[in-house]
């Protein structure tokens, strides 16, 4: 049923409207009957967890995807947006998390590149003038002559905005705009939103951060599992209401599967003591992070991805140096240890991106199974590899991990599906029975039954004394498995709990940068 959405003001015609939008990918319905309308002079937030369908919706609005069903209206007229170029021409501008900027060129040049009316011989001064005017008007202060590569992320974002404004956009869509900003730059961005809104622009921004929504949005649409839960004005809504909409009613006090373990008197497998790692351009560092992992326990790390978890792993492995603090592995200070030594000491890791970080695509499954341990299968001091032993071990690992249809040993890893690759990596890392296992997003790409199997596997090894650092965004998983729970935000540990001492709701607030205020 196509329905009209409530108008916030007297204006009857939304600048951009979607009615009954559906996007189907095979069996997966990423967006289901989505209705949304954005009016000029409005800042509209789209809130949802990962996988809620936000970016699919955006991609349809700016022309990257074609809707499976439903219609898009521009100024009341039905439109078919065939491509992002089309969308730009129609006045829809998109600012991604990865900017479409060329770092080696100046601001003027980057803006010029996207101008629809650029002449064969163009005047840098004229474009500079246009940039300065828009800069002043909308608080997008940036030096037009600067090389984009030298600008901070916040300034680069300003250039992106200038670019789409000067290219004629009237609807501005932002995908997680604050994820690339330092905390002090966020206010500046909201200032810009306010100025743009005052001038009649329509702003749509995707986020999963509550405080932002409260701070700047006029209206909010909450998406969950591809559907619109509700669209409502922000004024008058409370955070609790919104979080409930976000996570679903009655966030489960997930049943604990295991008993709580007493770890007093044991040597921790891993100690992070006030570890600080500087931020890099795209990766948030760590700020005085301290925690311990004991044998036989699962320490969960909750947090939205991109808040320092990657750095945490890299610091533990030793791939990124820390500028302050100490790390102890199995009781020893591992300040200068090479990766090899740590692996031999009993550290294992299921990486964030299995294809990029965990496997050799051009090799076969059985060859990948010994990555990092290859010297154990080398005979005669390395002169020959005992491939029979490798195969046996690989088979053993796979059988002990998979409940069904393990991939064949000879298969090239690059042909594996995401889920199968993940299972192979799990089989390898867990099969080696490390003393300490760092696992990032264990259930990546796995269907329900395999995800459950993976979790049960972790629990089994926990019973046998393995210490596990479990990094995840999935609160259900974390609550079900963790003995203790840490919450990360912007490189800090903002909370330490036992799961039974807290609720998913509170953790959600901490994850999104808020503070717990209830008594």
């Amino acid at each position: 049923m196509l329905t009209q959405v409530q108008a916030p003001t007297n204006l009857a015609t939304p600048l951009l409207e979607a009615r009954g939008l559906v996007k189907q990918f095979g069996d997966l319905r990423a967006n289901d009957n989505v209705n949304i309308a954005i009016y000029p002079g409005e800042v509209h937030a789209i809130l949802g967890e990962n996988g809620a369908g936000k970016s699919t919706l955006m991609k349809m609005l700016y022309g990257f995807y074609q809707p499976t069903a439903g219609q898009i209206f521009l100024n009341g007229q039905p439109m078919i947006i065939n491509s992002p170029q089309d969308g730009r021409r129609l006045g829809i501008g998109m600012v991604f998390q990865n900017f479409t900027l060329i770092p080696a060129l100046t601001v003027i040049e980057n803006v010029a590149l996207f101008l629809p009316d650029l002449r064969a011989v163009f005047s840098q001064k004229e474009i500079e003038q246009r940039i300065k005017e828009a800069s002043a008007k909308y608080d997008l202060r940036v030096d037009p002559r600067a090389t984009v590569g030298e600008l901070s992320m916040g300034e680069q974002q300003k250039v992106e905005i200038l670019k789409i404004i000067l290219a004629g956009a009237k609807v501005l869509i932002f995908d997680e705009p604050t994820s690339v900003l330092a905390p002090h730059e966020v206010g500046g961005l909201f200032q810009v939103f306010n100025k743009l809104r005052a001038d009649g622009y329509a702003i749509l921004f995707i986020t999963h951060k509550m405080p932002e929504v409260m701070a700047v949005a006029d209206r909010i649409t909450v998406l969950r599992r591809g559907r619109v839960v509700e669209t409502m004005p922000v004024a008058g809504a409370t955070e609790t209401e919104l979080v409930t909409m976000l996570l679903g009613s009655a966030p489960p006090e997930a049943a604990r599967i295991t008993q709580f373990k007493d770890t007093t008197g044991q040597t921790p497998l891993l100690i992070f003591d006030r570890i600080t790692v500087p931020d890099e351009q795209t990766k948030i560092g760590l700020k005085e992070v301290s925690f311990q992992v004991f044998p036989g326990e699962i320490v969960g790390v909750a947090g939205v991805s991109g808040n320092g978890q990657q750095t945490l792993i890299e610091a533990a492995l030793g791939l990124r140096p820390h500028t302050a603090g100490t790390i102890h592995l199995m009781g020893e200070n591992v300040a200068n240890w090479p990766v090899e030594k740590k692996l031999q000491a009993g550290l294992g890791c299921i990486p964030e991106d299995p294809l990029l970080m965990g496997a050799i695509p051009g090799m076969r499954v059985y060859e990948n199974m010994i990555l990092g341990e290859q010297h154990q299968y080398a005979d005669q001091g390395g002169l020959s590899m005992n491939w029979k032993r490798v195969r046996d071990k690989a088979t053993q690992f796979l059988n002990s991990t998979f409940i069904s249809s393990a991939p064949r040993l000879e298969v090239m890893v690059e042909t594996l599906s995401g889920g199968n690759l993940q299972r192979v990596i799990i089989a390898r890392e867990v099969g080696r029975q490390p003393k300490l296992l760092i696992a990032y997003y264990v259930a990546r790409g796995l269907d329900i039954s395999n995800a459950e199997a993976a979790r049960r596997l972790l629990l089994k090894h926990r019973e046998q004394g393995m210490g596990i650092l479990l990094i995840s965004e999935d609160l259900d998983e974390l609550f079900a498995l963790s003995d203790r729970l840490l919450v990360m935000h912007h490189g800090h540990i903002v909370g330490t709990f036992r799961p039974q001492e807290t609720t998913a709701h509170d953790v959600g607030i901490l994850m999104t940068g808020g503070t717990i205020t209830h008594a």
């Binding site: 060329i102 770092p103 080696a104 060129l105 040049e109 590149l113 064969a120 163009f122 840098q124």
Partner: protein, 305 residues
Amino acid sequence: MTTSFIEGVLTGSIQSSTSVLYAALGEVVVERAGVINLGVEGTMLMGAVTGFMVTAQTGSALLGVVAGGLAAGVFNLILAYLVVTRKANQLASGLALMFFGLGLSALIGKPYVGQLVHGLDALPIPFLADLPVIGRILFNHDILIYLMVPLAALVWWVLFRTKWGLSLRAVGENKVVAFAAGLKPELLQYQAVFIGGVLAGLGGAHLSLAFAQSWSEGMTSGRGFIAVALVIFAAWHPFRAVAAALLFGGALALQLQLQARGANISPFLLDMIPYLLTLGVLLFVQKGRKRAMPEGLKAVFEGTN
């Protein structure tokens, strides 16, 4: 250090650097578009032999120069086809092009070996050419030499002040963004490679029609490779390429003059300077140079293209 020595070095450096500079300017355009042509040597030779052949047949050196440029431009399109359309490895393709140019030019030029032609005339600028010393150094050259600096300025202007130049640089940095901006990366790369070829061909033609006024197999003697090194040294900037080419040419002229005077410094050590300088500059001025390299080229050097 007599005036005649200095005069000899300066005049010589201008004359020897011309062909290298044209090739380098062409290569700047090509590399700014994200393509590296290790086969400039072959392209220059095609320009040299075609220019010589046309001049020998028609008697007009100017016609020869134009023909040389065009022929080299078309020749370079082979590289464009391999690298842009067939997505072949750029380094290997460039080297293959070099061998092709070496061989083909040798075949074409065989009948003309030892022949003399009326090459490019020197065009003394009235009044200025009569000035003592400076007149002989600066104002008594052929048309291609006079056009060196204006050409560099033209290349600069096109690259940095026109839509085409901006589009080209965008393609050389990031084809995906360029495509998102509505550009056609492949077409632009073809155009860049053609223009680069024309310029290299002009450089080759200068070699056979002005500098040596004759043809012999492989007469560029590595100038094509020098041009490639020059471009890196000049951080892909047309004006710095002029300075760099004069430096190279100067080293060449210097050693000739020194030899004529029986001086002791080995010319080979002098010849090394530009390469060592390039290495040093690449190492120590890292920030500037690394940033100056078009991103598209970085993929070539990482072995992924």
